[in-house]
Amino acid sequence: MSTAAVRTPTAGRRPRADLRRRALEHAPILGPAGALVLMFALFAILAPSSFVSSDNLFNLLAQMAVLAVLATGVTYVLLLGEIDLGFANIAILSGIAATLFFGGKDIDIPFVGQLYMGSGTGDQIVGIATVLVIAAALGWVSGALTAKLGVPSFVGSLGILLLAQGWAFYWSQGENQYTVPSLAKSIGSGYVGPVPRVAISAAVILLLAHLVLSRTRFGRYVYMTGANKDAAELSGIPTKRIVMMVFALAGLLAGIAGLMNIGRLGSAQPDAGTELLLPAIAAVVLGGTSLFGGRGGIGYTVIGLLLYGVIDNGLDQLDIDPYIKPFVRGLLFLTAIALNVLMLRIARRAQAQSLLERSAEPPDPTPAAPSAPAPSTDRQPSATR
């Protein structure tokens, strides 16, 4: 992750200790990575021919691609210590809106009138841009409710979920839409060699999101705001603006994911939001990004996505009662999370041990508890000696 560079001056002085500490620092990734290996091995044994075929594995990537773009937005939001429930329905709305804009129909805007967008290439770019602006704006509203009004992000984004759901339902009149713009098809369907194009789109977005998070000031502000909002604020970081920007970014990513989704499926379905919402959050959480902010990243989310995809796809390859599959998926999900937590605990203990060995100093004498003032130890030694 961001700390992977090796140019610190201490690296020269104590290379081994430094390496060891850095390994410990990234130990949390061992949880989801270990779970991924185990799950992969499980399905490779249970369904050797069907699961471990290149066709199936590329299919797995294609299945996960839309979720991956959504999970990217979720990762940013979780790093802030917030939660977003609106993104999946923003994606659905974006898909519906794109098909309608492209479909050459009049679109009813209540209280305003009719909107018509042409279907030429220039019109299509305008239409797609409008879709993405709407998506980002809806995300921004979630963020503004949280940052400006102090509404918990769970509640604010729930409102956006309902709004986007209703909006998509109204514009589509509840019908699937099939006029998929060619731009959406170009990022959502087809192959480059054996690789599904939608997976390439997702990979590009994941990479960009990773670079922004680890190499830019904005990314640092996201981590630091999530790690301690007060400390960031008191260092002059505009934390409210960061929150709004991140929610807007999550909205924008949801818009892109919506376009990829209709490109891949060849249609826009107004009621598919729930199929995207929880899986995207589940994948991020499986990867080990903390719900409390400041810890995690895109690398973790990639592992989480693969883990989720392996469980989901692997189950489809097994010859078991289809009605028990969702239950087994739940079991495997819980197993993976438990495995994560156990691995993390071991890593933390090793981390603490290593810090204890390094630190000759006694710990902070003032306890963290804000209750009754503890005996201040600072001045007594001067009187003792």
């Binding site: 961001s2 700390t3 560079a5 140019r7 610190t8 001056p9 201490t10 430094d18 500490r21 850095r22 620092e25 680890s214 190499r215 830019t216 000031r217 904005f218 990314g219 640092r220 502000y221 981590y223 630091m224 790690a227 301690n228 007060d230 400390a231 960031a232 604020e233 008191l234 260092s235 002059g236 970081i237 505009p238 400041g294 810890r295 810090l355 390094r358 630190s359 000759a360 100093e361 006694p362 710990p363 902070d364 004498p365 003032t366 963290a368 804000p370 209750s371 009754a372 003032p373 503890a374 005996p375 201040s376 130890t377 600072d378 001045r379 007594q380 030694p381 001067s382 009187a383 003792t384």
Partner: protein, 514 residues
């Protein structure tokens, strides 16, 4: 005349009262935490129906003594006598059984529950069904004991802090309390509430309830206590009848000559403050008011000055400091900082105008799980372009770690792995990369040992060179005296004294502040 019927407020305990065994007596209480001897044989006697004050500096051992009384801390040595009989205190329930109740500064009430539920809720234990009528009646009876006239259905959070305090006293009495320990009861109260609190205390004392008042407001002690015990460095210095003493005498006991001499190297027995420099005025405050804590503050700060503002937690100096850093605007009066009106327009603008800020609460200063270098560079990234250069950041952090002698520090280490004093150095380092024109520091040395304090003092002084200035806000007189070229004293939201171009002592500051 027994103390139970003694009508004279603030009168000394009568001989008759002295003859009866004290309601609670501690003898030779000692407590050691690791290498720190918090208490070294303290005696404390509290008579029936008296208001007894416990005085001492921060770190003198007051809190530990109170915890021993409450059974929260078990003394290593010493006796605990109740009504003259030794009792074994092995935990909080033993202390409750003998009638000791402690009302801590951070009240232990349930803010979203009603007064009735808070006052008698503890008696519900073991009942299957809540008998609301009985609950209300019982609560009413408890509140009558303290003559508190509030609706028992009011939620606690709707009451003022002073009233909440009385609700806790009511609960303490209602559950059989005979000795009520009040920990800094007036620090968050306004003048009216303070008067009301002490009226209630006196009335209850006249009925035979004993009070131990842990405070550092000497005026409260002089006006409202019967006797006072002063402890210093874990020992009892004196127990005096308040009627026979003066504020100066109390200050003398609290500060102590020997202690002062020992600390002369750091605090100085008598400090000569320099005349004010002729530098540009960087801060101008005229009649600044921002309730609840800032009432009338007027002063200015010139380039080259380190202005120390000494006062306790309720003096409003910390709230004033926050206004300087863009957090909140004055309701009345004028506050100009580096040529701009302080308008509460946020910390980013304040920082970009050239102001730095170190908060008093270290938990609000550092992201403890994040590496030291990220904490150090946080305030200066904005000037370095949108892309990060982590190699450069690490080098900068490495330099600061060496310069400030951050023990065990490496750039990649999480800040939380450092001791408190070294964490504070990381916070200071954040502002040393591009030193701001005005540095505002709240309690910059809280929880630090003497050596680290001296280092912080050097850093603060270095921040006020080359046309810059610093403001140090603290409730520790030593740090103010050590850092400052000019000393102000804040008390209950007002600047009550200013010292420059003259000698000043810690006693003088404390006399002005309390």
């Amino acid at each position: 005349m027994s103390p139970a019927t003694a009508p004279t407020p603030s009168g000394p305990a009568t001989p008759a009262g002295a003859a009866a065994p004290p309601i609670v007596a501690l003898r030779g209480i000692a407590k050691t935490y690791g290498a720190i001897r918090a208490l070294r044989g303290v005696d404390l006697e509290i008579r029936r129906g008296e208001v007894h004050a416990l005085l001492g500096e921060n770190g003198a051992g007051k809190s530990t003594l109170v915890k021993c009384l409450a059974g929260a801390v078990i003394a290593d040595e010493g006796e605990f006598l109740v009504d003259g009989e030794p009792v074994a205190i092995g935990g909080p329930t033993d202390a409750l059984d003998v009638g000791v109740r402690v009302v801590y500064q951070e009240l232990a009430l349930f803010p979203t529950l009603s007064v009735a539920e808070n006052v008698v809720g503890g008696e519900l234990h073991g009942q299957r069904r809540v008998d609301w009528r009985r609950l209300r009646t019982a609560a009413r009876a408890h509140l009558d004991m303290v003559e508190l006239d509030v609706d028992v259905d009011t939620r606690i959070e709707q009451l003022s802090v002073g009233t909440q305090q009385m609700v806790e006293v009511a609960r303490a009495l209602g559950s059989g309390g005979r000795l009520i320990v009040l920990d800094e009861p007036t620090s968050a109260l306004g003048q009216d509430e303070i008067a009301q609190l002490f009226r209630s205390i006196r009335r209850l004392a006249d009925q035979g309830v004993s009070f131990l008042l842990v405070t550092h407001f000497l005026e409260d002690v002089i006006e409202h206590a019967d006797r006072a015990t002063i402890i210093r460095d874990g020992r009892r210095v004196a127990t005096v009848d308040v009627a026979d003493t003066t504020k100066d005498e109390l200050v003398g006991h609290v500060v102590g000559d020997a202690g002062r001499a020992l600390r002369a190297g750091l605090a100085g027995q008598e400090l000569r403050l320099p005349p004010r420099p002729d530098g540009e005025v960087l801060v101008r405050a005229a009649g600044v008011r921002r309730p609840p804590s800032v009432h009338e503050m007027s002063f200015d700060v010139r380039a080259g000055e380190v202005v120390g503002i000494y006062g306790d937690l309720a003096s409003g100096h910390a709230a004033f400091a926050e206004m300087l850093f863009g957090l909140g605007a004055p309701e009345e009066g004028e506050l100009e900082v580096l040529g701009h009106a302080a308008d509460g327009s946020g910390t980013r603008r304040a920082r970009d105008r050239g102001i730095g800020f170190v908060p008093g609460d270290r938990r609000a200063a550092l992201a403890l799980e994040q590496p030291i270098f990220k904490n150090m560079t946080l305030a200066t990234l904005q000037r370095r372009g949108p892309l990060l250069h982590e190699g450069g950041e690490r080098t900068v952090a490495e330099g600061l770690i060496d310069r400030l002698r951050v023990a065990n520090g490496t750039p990649e280490l999480p800040a939380g792995a450092l001791s408190g004093g070294n964490q504070q150095k990381v916070v200071l380092a954040r502002w040393m990369i591009d030193p701001p024109r005005l540095m505002v520091l709240v309690e910059p040395t809280r929880g630090m040992d003497v050596g680290a304090k001296a280092e912080v003092v050097d850093i603060v002084r270095s921040l006020a060179t080359d046309g810059r200035a610093a403001i140090v806000v603290s409730s520790e007189p030593e740090i103010v005296l050590d850092c400052a070229t000019r000393v102000l004293v804040a008390k209950r939201g007002r600047i009550v004294a200013a010292f420059s171009d003259r000698t000043v002592t810690k006693d003088q500051l404390m006399r002005e502040a309390f």
